[in-house]
């Protein structure tokens, strides 16, 4: 701490330059935090996917429906513990700009769905209320907060694809429950009764979108998947059964290797940052050749001089990186910036740790060369130059 005034005065020597360098570090670390959250958003499905959950979809595409009668046949496959289903609804709340189409709206079997996803936390009262109301909805807390919904609200949704038998496209639901979930759990879903939906819809009775299957042991994944698909081979609606992880990975891959793209962007940003910070410290050391010579004259050793310059570089990195990571945490904490398309959006702890490590790495690498130069400085030469 006794060297603090010396360090601080060095950074304050060229205030504008230090400020701009600091800002570039802050921006880089805000970007790092945000992109880490985006990467998670695209890969979260893969990371949190249950190892014991399979997805059975139409062999051609997930948008092709399957008969609801498949449920019992799948349930009879040895090793299958639980089967439930979901379908795609794709409605609009108020107007298309509200982003509700980005929320998964699913007609589901309430009992089976909550058994399948125990990570969805809902109070017993609300669970019961949802089960008992055929027009009831269980909605994730993120979506409820976003649209200002509370228990008891009646919410009209405009079905863009599904019409009711009276040819109306307006489906009205009652908010009966709001579920929560831990980090990595999608708390945006809008879940309602399949029975109500199936009876009320104009067309398509008896079909579902896909099946979720819980198995007894993840080691049996391949055998059970094959067994399920074998049942429906050569039928009008053949199936394809994959793990939940593989399905999520498939969706992520349709967009591209987001993780790799983000890594390359960050690599470019940090390389530039390294040059900017390194240049700032190098310039600062060059301008202070005389001062460093004076310090050595009064007894600062080579090692102390090296440490001083590294500490200066480290201080700059810690200040900028700290502020940047702090702002990043706050920005990511403010939630999904896309309005619902990235339902799982958070700054993972491991990326925060990586960020802190990058801060220290930046401080050391950016300051190393100028620090070595300062260490090797010959007092007599430096004083003569001055």
């Amino acid at each position: 701490m006794k060297f603090w005034p010396l360090l601080w005065s060095s950074l304050r020597r060229r205030k504008a330059r230090t400020t701009f360098t600091l800002l570039s570090i802050v921006v880089a670390f805000v970007l790092f935090s945000y992109l880490a959250a985006v990467r998670v958003a695209f890969s979260a499905g893969v990371d949190v996917a249950g190892a014991d959950r399979l997805f059975t979809t139409h062999k051609t595409s997930i948008i092709q429906p399957l008969p609801s009668s498949y449920q019992d046949q799948i349930a009879r496959v040895p090793g299958v513990v639980l089967v439930t289903h979901a379908s795609w609804f794709g409605g609009i709340y108020q107007d298309a700009n509200k982003g509700f189409q980005g929320v998964f709206q699913g007609p589901v079997d309430p009992v089976g769905y909550l058994k399948m996803y125990p990570e969805f936390k809902v109070s017993d009262d609300q669970r019961k209320a949802w089960m008992e109301d055929r027009e009831g909805v269980l909605v994730g807390e993120t979506t409820a907060k976003r649209y200002g919904w509370k228990i008891g609200d009646r919410v009209p949704i405009n079905g863009t694809f599904w019409r009711k038998k009276d040819r109306s496209t307006i489906w009205e639901f009652n908010i009966r429950g709001i579920y929560t979930g831990g980090k990595g759990v999608d708390t945006t879903q809008f879940l309602f009764h399949y029975d109500y939906f199936d009876e009320a819809r104009e067309l398509g009775q008896g079909i579902v979108g896909w099946y979720m299957v819980r198995i007894d042991d993840p080691k049996n994944t391949t055998a059970i998947s094959k067994a399920i698909d074998a049942i429906f081979e050569n039928s009008p609606a053949e199936t394809k059964t994959v793990t939940e992880k593989a399905l999520a990975q498939g969706f992520a891959d349709q967009i591209g290797d987001i993780g790799a793209i983000i890594q390359w962007i960050l690599a470019a940003v940090f390389f530039t940052l390294l040059l900017v910070t390194g240049n700032t410290i190098a310039q600062s050391v060059r301008e202070r050749t005389n001062e460093l010579a004076v310090l050595k004259t009064v007894g600062f050793s080579d090692a102390t001089t090296l440490g001083l310059v590294l500490a200066e570089s480290g201080l700059l990195a810690i200040l900028g990186g700290g502020i940047g990571l702090g702002l990043g945490v706050m920005a990511v904490g403010a939630g999904d910036p896309t309005g619902g398309f990235l339902p799982i959006f958070y700054f993972p702890t491991k990326d925060l740790v990586l960020g802190v490590a990058l801060v220290f790495l930046l401080g050391i690498v950016a300051g190393l060369l100028p620090a070595v130069q300062a260490m090797r400085l010959r007092i007599v030469d430096a004083l003569r130059r001055a």
Partner: protein, 228 residues
Amino acid sequence: MAETLVRVRDVRKTFFRGGERIEVLQGLDVDVAQGEFLALMGPSGSGKSTLLNLIGGLDRPTGGSIRVGDVEVSSLSGGKLTAWRARHVGFVFQMYNLLPGLTAERNVELPLLLTSLSRARRRQQVATALSLVGLTDRARHYPRQLSGGQEQRVGIARAIVTDPTLLLCDEPTGDLDRKSGDEVLELLQALHRDQGKTVIMVTHDPHAAERADRIVHLDKGVLVGAAA
């Protein structure tokens, strides 16, 4: 007869500049007694600053021996030489060489940062050094807020704050007007007289050199005469 503090024997210093060999010091012998105030005079390039740097351990001689007290300075390794310098030598520069971002007291404190003294003890020593140079009221001022003479006095306070054995001054009045220069010289004389400091001062100025107990003249790297 006072004991010899600095003993320079057959010291040579050679530089190479642009492939040319320059013999700055050519087998110099000089002694400085404990508590003496010595002025080193000579034209530019005569080797007086080089000699000062060698005695202070800022540079190494090409040959010969420099002994300060019991220590053979010319044979000390890098780390030991730095530690010895910090403990035994105070430097005063022509251009003051204060750190512009630090106040006067922080500048004076710099050599003490390397010691194990507590903050309170450091503060006390800084206050003493500043009071010796008559700048107690300027402790919180930055160098830009001080006159040249005041800056040089802060430089002297920094040089004496560790209570060194030897005070080496390289043209300490070279950048000052006559009045400020006289004040600085009086201060150096007072440190020599009252505190018993051994002072070696490089100067061009005969008026400044008159303050010394003894004047040594250098020309082209050799001693050309001495005056008491």
